[in-house]
């Protein structure tokens, strides 16, 4: 019984920390909550009005939602790029930071699930996937695979982080057999979540734009650019707003990962473009629509060229030594993230449908309602990520632990100041 009680106490303290912070924290959380609520309202409209409120059509039935979903699965998978250096190559710069990568993965998967849900015109029908009530159709359907691997990845990460943080809280040495096997399963699993997502596209034999073996490797390569790039930016924010020490060496290690992944990604893109255009068959029609427009229909042309320009800028900065300076590195990361988002979103999802098998060219533009929902899910994801960080940083720093549990409960009352914030105050005063 005490085990359960101890764990509940731990959860309670985590919850309390999540609601405490300085004015910057409240302002940030307030803004994110406001956007999330606006999006929730937009989603309520979509629920009432159906998918007609979105820009999707019979012809182009996947839009910005699936685009975001694809991108975010990649971000989640990319956490493995911190895990591999730490657990296989024993990189010491990253070892304290691997938790942040995993937290980002958790937040990204939450966003993925949200994006999939809003993409359903009748979300209640999702229940049909539950075996018994409906049918999961497991080995046959790629979608079933995707549900299984995504949920599994969420559980794996939640277990690893949860266990490590709880051990830190209790001041126990984590038992290796209780998390190391899961770490290694998670490494393979991370690759699988993105490969399975790729195969959602590749498996559609009728869509020649997607039905190519290279889509899988490209997904992985671009994810390993965008994910670590996001982590680089996130780590710098953490360094600025908390007292957590993030060494520059860690950022530079991530830089070399982004660098190599970006080179591979560019190489794969060249291969793909060559295949689409050199043979000059009708199979290249979607690519032509994407890059040059067909019959004056060129809604995607500005998007893709922006993406390519951003990626080239990012690549150029990354291969040059200037990216060792953080300012340039941040520019490169931002460019890469936006570039890859566009490329995987508007550049991959939409043109797969155009032209349709009947030869129609139907253009897709997200509506305002749709855009609002997308922003809200991002805001929600950031919210989740912030809360997770807010909880785990004090635990990692040791300012919230078993020892000061009693003190907090005794003096709890309604004080907003947790021992942790008090500890921070003491620390800053000492520094003065």
């Amino acid at each position: 019984m005490t085990v359960v009680r101890n764990y509940l106490l731990f959860l309670r303290r985590c919850l309390r920390v999540a609601f405490a912070g300085d004015w910057r924290y409240y302002a940030w959380m307030g803004v994110l909550t406001a956007i999330t609520l606006a999006g929730l309202h937009a989603y309520a409209e979509q629920l009432a009005g159906g998918l007609a409120t979105t820009g999707m059509t019979d012809q182009v039935s996947w839009g910005i939602y699936i685009a975001n979903f694809t991108f975010l699965v990649g971000v989640a998978a990319a956490a493995v790029m911190l895990v591999i250096p730490v657990y296989i190559y024993r990189n010491r710069h990253l070892s304290d930071l691997v938790v942040f990568g995993e937290l980002l993965a958790v937040a990204a998967i939450l966003m993925c699930l949200a994006f999939v849900t809003v993409d359903l015109g009748r979300p209640d029908r999702a229940a049909y996937m539950v075996p018994g009530f409906g049918k999961l159709n497991f080995p046959g359907s790629m979608l079933a695979w995707d549900v299984v691997v995504l949920a599994g990845y969420l559980l794996l990460n939640a277990h690893i982080i949860g266990y490590l943080l709880y051990c830190r809280y209790q001041n126990w040495t984590p038992r290796r057999w209780f998390y190391i096997p899961f770490v290694f399963v998670a490494i393979v699993w991370a690759i699988s979540i993105h490969t399975v997502t790729a195969f959602l596209f590749v498996g559609l034999g009728g869509r020649d734009f997607w039905s190519q073996a290279i889509v899988g490797p490209r997904f992985i390569a671009s994810a390993f650019v965008a994910g670590p790039a996001l982590i680089i930016l996130a780590l710098q924010v953490i360094r600025r707003v908390s007292t957590y020490v993030v060494p520059d060496e860690a950022l530079l290690t991530l830089r070399s990962i982004v660098q190599v992944a970006m080179l591979i990604n560019a190489f794969l893109l060249i291969n793909e473009v060559f295949k689409k255009f050199y043979t000059d068959t009708a199979h290249g029609a979607s690519a032509e629509y994407l890059y040059f427009g067909i019959n004056g229909h060129d809604a995607l042309v500005p998007w893709i060229w922006t993406a390519i320009a951003l990626n080239i800028v990012a690549l150029a900065i990354l291969v040059l030594p200037v990216s060792k300076s953080l300012r340039y590195l941040n520019t490169a990361c931002a460019c890469a993230i936006v570039g890859i988002w566009i490329e995987k979103g508007m550049g991959l999802v939409v043109p797969g449908f155009v032209p349709t098998p009947l030869g129609e060219v139907v253009e897709y533009m997200p509506t305002w309602n749709e855009t609002l929902i997308s922003f809200a899910i991002w805001a929600f994801g950031l919210l989740a990520f912030t809360v997770l960080l807010r909880i785990s940083i004090p635990i990692l720093q040791g300012s919230i632990n078993k020892e000061n549990e009693r003190a907090e409960i005794r003096g709890s009352g309604r004080s907003v100041r947790t021992p942790e914030t008090r500890a921070l105050h003491v620390q800053t005063e000492e520094e003065k």
Binding site: M142, I191, T195, F199, V202, G203, L204, G205, G206, S211, Q212, A213, I214, G216, P217, I220, F267, L268, I270, N271, E272, F274, K275, K276, Y278, T279, D280, T281
Partner: protein, 414 residues
């Protein structure tokens, strides 16, 4: 600088030639055996040149065979050898600098062999002249010849500096190394595009072919280099293994994992979607209408690759005996996969639905072995010259004027 009127570089060249022509009985036996096989191959080629490609197993339906397969494989080796230079020059692993020379030597050998394979693949080799710029400008020839020149420049410059006991000036070779690196990728990608560009042959017309070429080459190249280093250590007391082995192993491991991942993607792509039957891949892995000549090949290839992968992933790869096994498995496995697994099935079934069985003839096989023997001959010769220079036993210091600048080469084989 000249001594007794002979320019130093000429002395250098003369001494290199002499060093290459001397050695102990093992050296002569090895060179002799290779020479004999080469000459047998030359005889076979003479047969082919007289009677035409009818002496080979190639047909109208399967016009590319073992020659093109070897060509593809060797270009991969050439490319990978130079790409290994990236970590050495960029991340400045100074203690691996000797490896740059080995890599470039392997690249030069592989390109010479690749060119030989292209030549024997021509039914009318005299028409080869038509691909030179002026007749029909061809990107591929420029790429290949340029690559050969780049590598020759790097090797000869570095060796000559070693010989003269000078520090190589970075300005004079690093830019070339970097160009060669980009060039190497271009070379290999261009080879992949030779296949990929054929829109009708669905088996090849896939964007993943390019990346698969590169990753396979990144396994086979280091594997060959590693084997070469093991042999070098065995016959000459020149040991680069302590420094180079972990590095080469690591590259092989990563490339092998990538390679398997790409293969899985390709197989899944062909089988998961329900449209059209993937005839070519069916023919390769399971046989078509009772014709299953490629199955033993591909099963061997997949088996060997898996053995190599398993050895590389497990800590067992730190044992030197096992790493040799892994290297041999990987080289043979990848060779088969590229040859019988990529070149031949692309043509089968033909657009008319015919299923033709291609098996190399003996004459063809002789030419094939002849070219490999010739390549090994070049590689052995160049190592025979290089190693004394790197060890410092062949240097400008011991070329005495009394012998007209040509010192008697010392026996370096222990």
């Amino acid at each position: 600088m000249a001594r007794n009127g002979i320019p130093a570089w000429l002395v250098f060249a003369g001494r290199c030639l002499r060093a290459g022509a001397t050695g102990d009985w093992r050296y002569y036996a090895w060179i002799g055996a290779l020479g004999a096989v080469t000459i047998l191959g030359l005889n076979a080629y003479a047969n082919q040149a007289v009677a035409g490609l009818a002496t080979t197993g190639l047909q109208d339906q399967v016009p590319w065979g073992i020659y093109i397969a070897n060509f593809t494989f060797l270009l991969g080796i050439a490319g990978a050898a130079v790409i290994l230079v990236i970590p050495v020059s960029m991340y400045i692993k100074r203690n691996l600098q000797d490896l740059v020379i080995f890599c470039a030597l392997l690249a030069v050998t592989a390109i010479v062999m690749a060119l030989a394979f292209v030549v024997v693949d021509l039914g009318r080799p005299d028409r080869f002249a038509h691909i030179f710029p002026g007749w029909v400008p061809s990107l591929r020839v420029i790429v290949l010849a340029g690559y050969l020149l780049l590598n020759l420049h790097i090797v000869v410059y570095l060796l000559y500096c070693h010989y003269r006991n000078r520090r190589p000036s970075a300005a004079f070779y690093i830019p070339f190394v970097l160009i060669a690196v980009v060039w190497a990728i271009t070379l290999h990608t261009a080879t992949a595009f030779l296949f990929l560009g054929l829109g009708e042959t669905i088996f090849w017309n896939q964007a993943i072919i390019g990346p698969r070429f590169i990753t396979a080459a990144f396994v086979a190249g280091p594997a060959l280099l590693l084997l070469a280093l093991q042999v070098t250590q065995w016959v000459a007391s020149y040991d680069l293994r302590e420094r180079a082995l972990p590095f080469l192993r690591m590259i092989m491991l990563v490339a092998m994992v990538f390679s398997v991942f790409l293969l899985l993607n390709e197989v899944l792509r062909n089988y998961f979607r329900s449209t059209g039957q993937p005839f070519e891949i069916d023919y390769l892995y399971f046989g078509l209408n009772g014709f299953r000549p490629l199955i033993p090949w591909i099963v061997t290839a997949v088996g060997l690759n898996l053995i190599a992968l398993i050895i590389l992933v497990l800590p067992a790869h730190r044992s030197r005996a096992l790493i040799n096994v892994a290297c041999i498995c990987a080289v043979v496995g990848i060779w088969i996969e590229k040859a019988m697994g990529l070149v031949v099935p692309g043509f089968i079934p033909t657009p008319l639905g015919e299923i033709m069985v291609y098996t190399p003839t003996w004459n063809e096989a002789f030419i094939w072995f002849g070219i490999w023997a010739f390549g090994l001959l070049i590689f052995t010769f160049s190592l025979r010259v290089t190693i004394p220079i790197l060890q410092g036993t062949l240097s400008i210091a011991d070329s005495t004027p009394g012998e007209a600048g040509i010192a008697a080469p010392r026996p370096h084989f222990t």
